[in-house]
Every structure is written in C-alpha cells, then in structure tokens.
C-alpha cells in the first residue's frame, strides 16, 4: 500500500480537519465529531439538508455543503456508515425550525444509522423526512432484498433538494422533488482496478490486467459481469444501453460522467463523447452535462454514467445557484 497518509487509523479525522482548515469562512466542524456544517447553520425557517455516509467517496458528501446544496455532511469511517449519534448532531445543528431532510444512499448500514438518528431527532421534537437514493441499475430492483445501491445520482438529488430548500420550500416540498429525482435518475459504474482501504492495507478485490467489471459498486461490490477490457466507445455503449433499457429517458436529460478516483478526466471526456452521440441518435435531448469526480471510491479506476430525466421543475432546480465547492452553479 502506497498512500499519502500519516496513520491508517486516523485518515478520517485528518481529512476532516483538512477539509475545514482554510475554509473556515464557509464551513466548520462540530467539535469532537466528524460532522461538517455550514457556518451560517441553522438558517431560520429553511429546511436543513443533511447527507453523509462512509468516507472515501470525496468530494461526496462534504464537498456539496454550501448555499443551495447541503447544510451538513456526516463523515463515517472509510466505506462505513456514520453512527446515529453523529447524524443526530448534524440534524440538530441544521434545524432552523422548518425540519430537516436526510438524503441517504441505499446501503443497509446507512439506512439503519440514519433511521435511528431520525427517530432520536423526532423524539426531541425535530421534524425529519428522508429520501433513499437507489440509482444503480446493476442491482436487481427488488423489495425482498437490499435493493439497488445509491451511487453518483445521489449528487443530483443533493442539488435539486438543496435548491428547493434554499427557495424556502416546506419539508414536504423538498421531499417531493427529492423523490421525483430519485424516480427519474439511473446510474451504472465500471472499474478497471480496485481500491485499498487504508486500515486494511490491501486491495478489497482483484481485477486482472486486461479485465474490467461492469456494474461495480462504489465500495467494490460485485457488478453484472467481469470481462475483457474493451474500448471507451464500447464501454460507453454498454453502460448507456443498460440505463436506457431500465428507464424511458425520452425528452430532456442531465448527463453525469463520474470518475471513480483514479481515472484521468481525459478518459471521462472520451466516454462522454460517445454517450452524447448515443443519446443524440435516440433523440434524447441533453440539457446539461457534468464531467468530473463527483462520487469516487478511493483510488479505484473506472467511471460511472448517470442519466436524470428532467421536467421543467427539475431543470430550474438544477440550474439555480449553488456555492458548494464541488458543485458550483
């Protein structure tokens, strides 16, 4: 393992300290926690927006804190959900009297910890609502199992719910647009090489030199299949077709080409070029495109493609201003 760290057991604390130092005008760390909040929180009568999850997905989620997006992010251990007490502190810190909205990625750990925190907050008289993002089409959509994972599409939920909250909308309104976004967003990822958790010291899975995995999760969970590496165009075709087969995107869409941590932007743009061509051929109108690192998996090499079907309301919310360093509009 070769990493720029001080101590494998301190990476999260060290990272959080580094995230706030130098940025103290806009964000602060709640002492003795790994919760990061806007300095102006709680904002009176604005719905507070909280997200979070395991770390290792940077800039998710702390990079999305800012006016027009999140009010707080709860940072867990690497790839491990944060705990209810920490989430509760975040909820309390951003509650301005209009309630708090939680954006949760669909992993058992995240769902359980956020739900427990929500119950604790409600017991203290804070109104809490939530949405669970499950955009990963690589997993079977089933109510009998854990169901689909939440991946890069989560960032678009942050943006849209955040814009709605910033406009002064009620908790119910924020929930409505967040749910609409979840219903209209689909993603799928792929990887070329694995990542190594600092505390584990070795890669969490293996991929051969000329091998890739389609449908991989952002913690290296298995995808749909492993096969020979093919060209960027062929990868783009496979990923895009899987999204189009899962949901009717006719009309306007937003496209996100997301790097998993170790993929040069050059390669992301090569993928984007083909994705745009495919969509044009299908008469799907690309309203907005995002290319870059939004939801990573440490130093995993690979990318994901996200499509979000847009109506006028979602377009407007996507376009309103955001101060978040990792998603400036």
């Amino acid at each position: 393992m070769k990493k720029i760290i001080n101590d494998p057991n301190q990476v999260v604390q060290d990272m959080v300290a580094g995230m706030v130092s130098g940025f103290t005008k806009t964000i602060k760390q709640i002492p003795e926690t790994t919760v990061i909040v806007r300095t102006d929180a709680p904002i009176k009568r604005k719905v507070g927006l909280v997200s979070g999850g395991g770390s290792g997905h940077e800039p998710a989620h702390a990079g999305y804190i800012g006016k027009g997006m999140l009010d707080a992010a709860v940072v867990g251990e690497v790839f491990t959900s944060p705990t209810p007490d920490q989430i509760l502190k975040a909820i309390k810190a951003v509650d301005g009297g209009a309630g708090v909205f939680l954006v949760i990625k669909n992993y058992t750990g995240d769902v359980l910890n956020f739900e427990m925190a929500a119950e604790l907050a409600e017991a203290e008289g804070i109104q809490v609502e939530k949405v669970i993002v499950n955009d990963d089409v690589a997993v079977e959509d089933s109510s009998f199992t854990t169901g689909r994972r939440g991946i890069a599409g989560t960032v678009l939920v942050h943006k849209i719910a955040g814009a709605m909250a910033e406009s002064g909308a009620s908790l119910a309104e924020v929930k409505r647009v967040a749910e609409k976004t979840v219903q209209n967003v689909r993603s799928i990822g792929m990887a070329l090489s694995p990542c190594t958790l600092p505390a584990a010291g070795e890669p969490s899975f293996e991929l051969e030199e000329r091998e890739m995995e389609i449908g991989i999760g952002i913690h290296g969970e298995p995808g749909i299949e492993r096969k020979q590496l093919v060209s960027a165009d062929d990868i783009a075709v496979e990923l895009t077709n899987r999204l189009l087969a899962d949901f009717d995107f006719s009309g306007d869409v937003a496209v996100m080409i997301n790097g998993m941590g170790a993929t040069p932007e050059m390669e992301l743009y090569i993928v984007n070029q083909k994705v745009q061509t495919i969509l044009a051929e299908k008469d799907i109108n690309v309203y907005q495109t995002f290319v870059g690192e939004y939801m990573t998996a440490l130093e995993m090499a690979g990318c994901s493609v996200t499509l979000l079907g847009l109506d006028d309301e979602l377009k407007m919310l996507l376009e309103t201003a955001s101060d978040a360093p990792a998603f400036r509009v």
Binding site: G76, E77, V78, P82, T83, T108, E115, T146, A200
Partner: protein
C-alpha cells in the same frame, strides 16, 4: 445460576477479546461477501465497550446492557452498529427490574433482542444474517430451564456454519447473489463469538 452485573461485564470483556483475536478473520469473511470491514468495525466497537465497562459503577445488568448498546451504536458504524445496538438495548429494557437476572428473564431478553433486530434490519431467518444465529439460540434458550454452556456453544456454532449454504438476500452480501453461497456470514460469526463468550461466563459461574 443468575447473571450478575459482574458476570455481564465479564461477558463483554471476553467478547471483546474474541473480536480482537478474530479481527482479521472477520474482515476476511466480509471481504468474500461484503466490504472488508466487519472485523475492523467490531474490534473498534468492542474495544470501546471494554475500555468503558470497568471504569463505571453499574446498579444493574440492565444498565450494563444499555451502556454496551449505546457504545456499540456510536462506535461500530456500518450495519452491525445499529443492529447490535438494537439487540442490547432491547435486552436492557427486557431485563430491567430483575437483578441478578434469572434464566427466564435472560431468555426473554434474548428474544426481545431478536425481535428488535429483525424489525430494524427487516430481515427474517434464512437471509444469511446474524438473525440466523440469534433465532436458533433463542429457541435453544426457550427449550431449556437453566444456563447450559456446552450446548449453547454447539447451537451457535452450528447455526453459524449453516449460514454457509444460504444465499444472502439482506445486507451487502445480497449483491453477491448466488456467489454468496459457500461463505460463512461475518455477522453470524461475530454473534457466535458473543455466545461463546457468554458460555465462558456460564462455566465460570457454575
């Protein structure tokens, strides 16, 4: 035998030793059908429990269990944190008011823990989770009349081994679908250590 405050503290100190000894093994199990963190999570959480218990004055077993629950909930993280937290919190409530805790009350506490964790995780028997160890252990306690160390270990161990043949439908392991068959469930293994530790306390108390 009846379970005293001291017995219950010993239970978790012993459980911690097992989590530390098997940290790598639990993580390895989680690498096969999860995300390679179960041993790290459990070792972190139980170490915190072991650090805390000897420094406090507990009036009842219920208080010990409550502190264990809150510590695990705030230190383990992942799925296991809220799941184990729920189990011990429900047990704490169920045994409240009886000290030391007799066999029937303890059995009732275990059952309440099981009911709680099934609700929290929306999991039932046969989904390749720690429920598959807790359910048979609760049945075993309900059939018995007094604490039985050897049979407890045997029951928990068999239950743990049996998770190998199950296809996971809950937790991260569900993503592995049929490939999850052939591997023991990490959470069932950490649960086995908890019952193995309990058996040691029972042996000492006899």
């Amino acid at each position: 035998m009846k379970l005293t405050v001291n017995n219950s503290i010993q239970w978790f100190l012993k459980a911690n030793e097992k989590m530390q000894e098997n940290k790598e093994y639990l993580t390895l199990l989680d690498k096969k059908i999860g995300d390679s963190d179960h041993g790290i999570n459990m070792a972190r959480g139980f170490q915190e429990v072991a650090n805390k218990l000897p420094t406090q004055d507990y009036a009842s077993v219920s208080d010990v269990l409550k502190d264990v629950a809150m510590t695990l909930m705030s230190k383990v993280g992942g799925a296991a944190g809220p799941l184990y937290g729920t189990i011990f919190l429900k047990m704490s409530t169920a045994v409240k008011g009886t000290d030391p805790v007799d066999y029937q009350t303890f059995t009732n506490g275990l059952e309440e823990g099981l009911v709680g964790v099934k609700q929290r995780g929306k999991a039932d028997v046969g989904e390749k989770t720690l429920v598959d160890v807790w359910a048979p252990v609760v049945d075993f306690f309900k059939q018995g009349v007094d604490f039985q160390a050897d049979q407890l270990v045997e029951t928990a161990e068999n239950a743990m081994d049996n998770t190998k043949d199950i296809q996971a439908s809950k937790g991260r392991a569900a993503y592995f679908k049929e490939k999850s068959i052939g591997h023991i469930d990490p959470g069932s293994t950490s649960s086995f250590y908890i019952f193995e530790a309990l058996a040691e306390v029972i042996r000492e108390g006899e």
